[in-house]
Symmetry: C2
Subunit: 139 residues, 2 copies
DNA sequence: TCAAGATTGAGAGGCATTCTCATTCTTCTT
DNA sequence: AAGAAGAATGAGAATGCCTCTCAATCTTGA
């Protein structure tokens, strides 16, 4: 059984993930990112470090890292997945409808309620997705 | 200002939505559906009633009905949108990871917490998406 | 009944993502 | 350090879901 989240090269290698030049570039991009970049953005940024990275490799690597628990995939709007490193604690997202900004938040109470509701329905939650879409409250 | 949800032919007509043979077939499919069908399913079912319905018209009609507030679009997995009539009260979804079944639920407490969290972050929620993915609890 | 303009079917087009395959690279074993 | 096994790669083709284009047809208000 592996720990749920690993993101150092050695941890990944121990999981059987080969560390290539391209994968290092992609990991670097994810570590530096403050936003939730799309595959397209990750490709562009990775190429600044390693010219040779291809689109196919970005998608393949993101899939590998997602399976390893290193990366989280989000589907905020309908326009393609957005990625982030799974290196912090679990959180949900609030998307600013005016600016597209993504704000992270966490609520233990909501998580607890979710588990309660699922239990009432006879289910155990494996994972969940909670996204709030809103606009800044006028002063 | 229009009421948030309308789904009778006359209500739609009053909103400026023309009622065509194809749109009636699609509305009929949505009214009969207990599942959350994909565009593909809606096309197949609509054709049972009206052979002439095309894929383009299904997508166009679903977009029109979504804008009118008659239809809700869901993006559960990454494999294409799933639709439902917006004729009942708001609810969220629990997706059975083993069977793909979609269970609807509603929690006023969770809704309230969401609004509170958004308010703390200085936001008003426009809409949200909450999906729980889980498996039946073993007996 | 009619004209205006909305809707339609068929197929082309678009976009994000995945696949194919020959070549190159990482890693394990010596 | 060298070699072998097989995993990862780039390029571009292919896929899947969805949207657009356009000429023909329909719905609707007058």
């Amino acid at each position: 059984m592996s720990s749920p989240t690993q993101y150092s090269e050695s941890e990944l290698r121990a999981e059987g993930v080969r560390i290539t030049r391209q994968r290092l570039a992609i990991l670097h991009v994810l570590r530096e990112a403050n936003d939730h970049p799309r595959a397209e953005d990750i490709l562009a940024r990775a190429r600044l470090q390693d010219q040779s990275v291809s689109q196919a490799t970005v998608y393949r690597t993101l899939a590998v890292l997602e399976k390893a628990g290193t990366v989280l995939r989000n589907e905020f709007d309908g326009t393609g997945a957005r990625f982030e490193l799974a290196d912090r604690t679990h959180h949900d997202h609030l998307i600013d409808l005016d600016t597209g900004a993504v704000i992270e938040f966490h609520s233990a109470r909501i998580e607890r309620l979710q588990a309660e509701i699922a239990a009432e329905l006879g289910y155990d939650i494996e994972w969940h997705r909670l996204e709030l879409y809103g606009r800044k409250t006028p002063d």
